[in-house]
């Protein structure tokens, strides 16, 4: 990536580090800095505003109870594009912020091959190559990136309308816009589940920034090694032994 982007990211991260604080106690590691958390929740806010106002346009007969939140169907419709602009803006910053850890590696391909084991029979520990993000997270990240581009292009076409772009372009954009939204909605259920109930201890990384060391060596061993310098499997083994002796 160009140095201008790096400099911008560093500046933004530094600014938010000066204002924001993290709660990192003993036995914990800092996972998400304030800038990342800020972007994440701004993206989430605009995502849900756009989603709920979009429901009212998608199937008004089913979701008309959503539209009064925005002051009625017509107002929901006229605000929806602005929510979308907010979503794309903040997610665009997040893309810059996360570009490096989200790059695909060979280990990720392996991870995807073993997806069944990750999902159905929980392996107790992630493969040691799993870094800051695992392949599943990367897939979702790039899905949202591509989806946002689709949203942006088709959204602008729908916003400006048939008068400029022609009827057929609008009719096709409308379908692509909806498909992009549905794929993202499908993914977001999985995202919310895995960050809360599915993997206890994850949610705190996006609220106050930290995760437990045991969480780190379990789910992101390579990242654990990178920040602590210790071997994740060894650390886990030690903790296990300690737990057993403590019980005796």
């Amino acid at each position: 990536m160009g140095t201008a982007v790096d400099r911008f990211d560093d500046k933004a991260r530094g600014l938010f580090d000066r204002i924001g604080t993290n709660d990192v106690y003993q036995g914990e590691l800092l996972r998400h800095r304030p800038y990342t958390r800020f972007l994440h929740w701004m993206v989430a806010l605009f995502f849900f505003l756009a989603l709920f106002s979009g429901f009212g346009i998608y199937l008004p007969w089913l979701f008309r109870w959503f539209t009064p939140i925005f002051g009625g169907g017509a107002l929901a419709r006229s605000m929806h594009p602005w929510f979308g602009v907010g979503f794309c803006f903040f997610f665009g910053l997040q893309v810059l912020n996360w570009l490096e850890p989200m790059l695909w590696s060979k280990a990720d391909t392996e991870w995807i091959r073993g997806l069944k084991n990750h999902v159905l029979k929980p392996e107790k520990l992630e493969p040691t190559e799993t870094g800051f993000f695992n392949a599943g997270q990367k897939v979702q990240f790039w899905e949202i990136t591509i989806g946002s581009v689709v949203f942006l292009i088709t959204g602008i076409i729908l916003w400006i309308g048939a008068g400029t772009f022609g009827r057929i372009t609008v009719a096709v954009s409308y379908v692509l816009h909806d498909i992009s939204a549905l794929v993202m909605l499908f993914g977001i259920f999985i995202h919310m589940y895995l960050s809360t109930f599915g993997q206890p201890g994850t949610f705190h990384s996006m609220t106050r920034g930290s995760v437990a060391e045991s969480w780190a060596w379990t789910f992101h061993p390579s990242w654990y090694k990178q920040v602590t310098g210790r071997d994740p499997r060894q650390a886990h083994e030690e903790a296990r032994r300690q737990m057993e002796t403590g019980r005796r």
């Binding site: 009719a171 909806d178 201890g201």
Partner: protein, 296 residues
Amino acid sequence: MSDRRTLQIKQISAHPGPIPGEGVQRDLEVCKLVDTTTCIGCKACEVACVEWNDMPFTPTTFDNTYQTMPETAWSFWNLIKFNEHQREDGTIQWLMRKDQCMHCADPGCLRACPADGAIVQYSNGIVDFNQENCIGCEFCVSGCPFNIPKFNPTTKKVYKCTLCSDRVGQGLEPACIKACPTGCLKFGSKDDMKFIAEERAQQLREHFGYANAGVYDPASIGGTHVIYVLHDATRPELYGGLPKDPQIPWSYTVWKWLAKPVLGTLALFGLLGVCLHYVTVGPRKSQPEPPPRKER
């Protein structure tokens, strides 16, 4: 019971249930006939439309022709389009066409509309907008082959010609018909209007030298409830953008009635999937976790 009749509904946009009162009484299909060959461009129909529908002033533009504005507006539903057509022999033919909603038998606006009850088609053929249910998404604009629905940025709703459904429901003719001084506009049942139109076209072909004269009632959208007699029915584009073969984007039909519910349900499977995952496979916990309680 008085002779006061209400209009019966035939189709409702994006409506999931049955149509209330469908088929209770039989209705004649109505039709407006516009004979472009006898139109003198007086614009009386424009004035009558604005008057009857109580619409505010719409700004006009001046471009050295009789055309007061380029196209219809949310507050101007009826506009005569003036077209100067140069024939092959160099002479000029002045074509005038009263542009308004065509009230298609298969309305593209209604197909595209996602809002329940925002667009209705009456069994007499009139297609009408219900602004109270309109969400202003403007999908109808892209659904319409005739560029008729117009968005009002203040109310954020879409408006168009109603074929004076309020007058027709009371047994009156539309306001434009009442105002026309030449008899170029006629109103009646579709069968009658079609008969008169064909007769006029035949007259034009046989006695006035318009070999291609004919009736514009495009079959590609199931016919319309406003039909034209044209000097040259083979080239309707000459009359200010009248499409020869009007089409409704196929994506609306496929998407709205098939893919939308199916794919929407698939997205919900994400929610179902994670719930089932939690109660069956269970969450993944940070290791080591304390061993399970021993059974006594």
